[in-house]
Amino acid sequence: MGRNRNYFVVPLVLFVVLLAVRLFFAFQTPFLDGASYQHLVKAGEIVHKGVFANPVFYYLLSVVLFFSKNVFVVKVFSNLFFVLVNVLVYFIALRLSKSRLFSAISALISGLLPVYFSNTFNLVSPLSLGLFLFFFNIFAYLNSEKKGWVNVYIISFIVFSFTHWLVILYVLGLAVYHLITRLEGIRKKGVELELSFFSVFFGLWAQVLVSKGLLFSLGLRLFSFNIPGVLWSSYFPAYSLPEVMSLLGVVPFFTGLYVIYKYSFERRGKGISFITSFILVAAALFFFRLLLVNLALIVLGLLFCVFLARWFSDFKVFARRAKVAGFLNVLVVFIVLIALLVVPVSVYFSFSRLKDSSQYEDIFDAVEWIKANTPEDAVILALPQEGSFVSYFSGRDVVITDDFLKFQDIDERLDDVYRIYKTRFETEAIGLLDKYDVSYILFSDAAKKKFGMDSLSYAVGKCLNVVHEDGGLVYFKDPGCKLRVIR
């Protein structure tokens, strides 16, 4: 009994500490990360519009929103899953290293990784539940020979299959794992093959099923996330190696690579091969731009942290053999301190993200005005990154958002939106505004900065008038102004 209680003390402490740190940063602003609002909009729509791709998270979020629309409640809900991911990193690392101390260090570092922490502390997204289920399934698979875990795995995998695209990475990882173990002649239990069979078939079928509409409407563009060409570089930035290392942490990066090398060429380990398979698949998808860069780095960083505990265990054995066991504690503390250099980097990136969120504070007044003073069927034009925010708070339709999968004609649409902001000709603007039935334009500080203008240059005639000025200019388009061909 005592042993069992201790078993959960470390992860519980980890959970509380990491959650507290995350919420401290998240509560610095009443706004969320930009990418969150599209998910809040979807969670609001799912009750009326029914199921769409990967709906599980949206159903959960809609339940939370039903009880409270307070943004801080939503932040707590999302951060719970993100912290549980680190707890799972602890348990997986414990299984591979058999050391509670080293597993706790690994899990702590995984929670503070710059790429993970700064991108997720203020984010509400299916990624939170997706990552949690990804690691939970890894853990359940590793425990599959134990009684009851097969059923747990089956249930969690079914939920995972309808939660996030990460399930594709997961099933590919399983396939690579079986390939690696076959090549290395590692014996596996029969149940592992059966679970893999089930996962591969069910995961793929579920994803084809939930993505049917997107496959039909977007075709192969779905595999590039339908990201418009002009925004491609911001979603797939070309990071240099030092930048990647600073995002993943130098120590997890090098120790992870070392463990992969060691167990690929010199030793054998089923658990290590299992985790390595996911690292290989994530790296391949990252290389071929089939996984968003930040998501790929998050997965890679967390998996490298799992290896960190194993590296510490191996290092301990090595230190004893090399007869420097007396200095072992000093060496470990030294390495942990180096590893904890991720903390200042995380803090720096996190404050930078908080600064990005402040753009919503700037336009909040304007959005409130739109909600109070415009008809419910009004269509608003705003920048793509502001679209979901405007839609969520005002309840009005918008021309474009950063949920690019919604738009078949995304390149043309984005081009039209930019032209409406940039053009000097009223005729061109009116034609485009009519094309999307736009009745209001939000000209925010972000738009001013982006296009280098203080106001819309063509809005000097009768067709467009400024109706609100706080939190950005709101223009009203006279519905009587139409472009007509006269013979």
Binding site: V191, F198, F201, L204, W205, V208, L215, F216, L220
Partner: protein
């Protein structure tokens, strides 16, 4: 006696299931009150009776009532399934495997397309299967004659026929006459289908990956899930690589080439269904440690195939022409003579249902005519549009919602859409759920 009764019941159940799956696109189409023949190929065939290179067949089919012609592909595919069952039996496949194969085949989106669209495959496919069956029964002359006949009709068919002759010669029986047959079919391929060889560089250069998958909207594609399953089946087949290496190479070759050559997909369908049946039987026979996983895997496979199939059936049932479009064309049939301006791909529908000629139809149109045709759609200058309409004798204009939503225009109020709405020279004859027919009233 009891066992015989059970067996018969299972056979009836299988036949009903196969019939239901294959007939579902036609069934859904009829439920949507659309009684027109789907696809363009059959209209081309009915209007130009010598098409497909079989003059007498054109005359026969053009006298068949349209309602029967709607079900003819289904009947032909069911007959082909019967032939396939006999072929597999002849090849020594067990009863269980044959049942799984036929179920999997009937669940394939491509098989549904074959049972839905009347086209050249309606003749080629059963003739080929009959020829193959006769060859397996060592009726060389009859079998070869059928394969040679089928080879005249399609280049892909000629290619497959040669390969089949070689396979029969290697694994079934060696007959010197088969060398002659292979040579003859090769000759037919070179003489009658040499254009196919020259078109290959273009075919390879213009590959559209999404055209291979039904989930992307392709009528003649495979389900992603069935391809994936076939991948497992292929690994399972590799166990027989020592004895059947030629078969494995042929399977691989045909599967890869069918990415590029649509005509080969019908044979890929057989291969993919064979591989799927192989892996399903293996999963079924394997000793599982966790029984529930076996049932879940089999259920997932069945659901994966069934859902793709049903979804494809719904897509197929909406194939052009729509009932509203045909209604619009029927209105035109009583009107005075004149040329019809509408989308190029509707050309044969217009001629068939209204008896009036379209401005353009088919694939090969002179560049001058095509340029005028586009100008009539996109120009907002009525005098220019009118001049071109007069030049081609256009009296009727048909605009469908699909044309307004991307096939011709990107938004309402562009070019001709604007003119027909606001210019007094256009009189609306009928509008039915977005399909509008306009008459051009020239000033005398």
């Amino acid at each position: 006696m009891q066992v015989e009764g059970d067996s018969m019941r299972k056979k009836i159940l299988l036949a009903v299931f196969v019939l239901f799956m294959l007939a579902s696109p036609v069934f859904f189409r009829l439920l949507g009150d659309n009684y027109s023949l789907p696809g363009r190929e059959v209209y081309s065939f009915l209007l130009h009776k010598s098409a497909w290179g079989i003059p007498f067949a054109g005359n026969i089919i053009s006298n068949v009532p349209l309602f029967i012609l709607l079900f003819l592909p289904l009947v032909v595919v069911l007959f082909s399934f019967l032939l396939l069952n006999l072929i597999l039996n002849e090849l020594g496949m067990k009863h269980d495997f044959r049942v799984v194969f036929l179920v999997v085949l009937s669940l394939s989106p491509l098989a549904q397309s074959l049972a839905f669209f009347a086209g050249v495959n309606m003749i080629v496919f059963p003739v080929f299967l009959l020829g193959f069956l006769f060859l397996l029964k060592k009726r060389v002359v009859l079998g070869s004659a059928l394969l040679v006949f089928a080879s005249f009709l399609s280049p892909a068919q000629a290619l497959v026929s040669v390969l089949v002759v070689f396979v029969v010669k290697k694994y079934w029986f060696d007959d010197r006459r088969l060398n002659f047959v292979a040579g003859l079919i090769g000759g037919i391929f070179l003489v009658f289908h040499s254009g196919f060889l020259f078109s290959l560089p273009d075919v390879f250069a213009n590959i559209d990956f999404s055209d291979f998958f039904s989930e992307f909207g392709s009528f003649f594609g495979f389900g992603i899930f069935e391809i994936f399953l076939a991948g497992f089946g292929f690994f399972s087949l590799l166990r027989f690589r020592k004895d059947y290496s030629l078969v494995i190479y042929l399977f691989s070759g045909i599967l890869i080439l069918s990415f590029f050559i649509v005509g080969l997909r019908i044979y890929s369908l057989l291969i993919i269904s064979f591989l799927n049946a192989l892996i399903i039987c293996e999963i079924f026979k394997r000793k599982w440690h966790v029984a529930v996983l076996k049932n879940l895997v089999l259920l997932t496979i069945f659901c994966g195939l069934l859902f793709a199939s049903m979804s494809h059936a719904i897509t197929l049932s909406k194939a052009e022409p729509s009932s509203k479009f045909v209604q619009g064309l029927t209105v035109l049939s009583d009107k005075k003579p004149g040329v019809v301006l509408t989308l190029q791909e509707y050309g044969d529908f217009v001629e068939f249902y209204s008896g009036k000629l379209p401005v353009v139809r088919g694939e090969s149109v002179s560049s001058g005519l095509f340029s005028d045709y586009l100008n009539m759609f996109y120009s907002s200058d009525f005098s220019e549009t009118l001049k071109l309409m007069k030049k081609y004798g256009v009296r009727y204009v048909i605009i469908t919602p699909e044309m307004k939503n991307g096939k011709v225009w990107k938004k309402d109020g562009e070019g001709l859409v604007f003119l027909v709405e606001y210019d007094k020279h256009f009189k609306k004859l009928i509008e039915n759920e977005g399909v509008a027919v306009w008459e051009v009233q020239y000033e005398e």
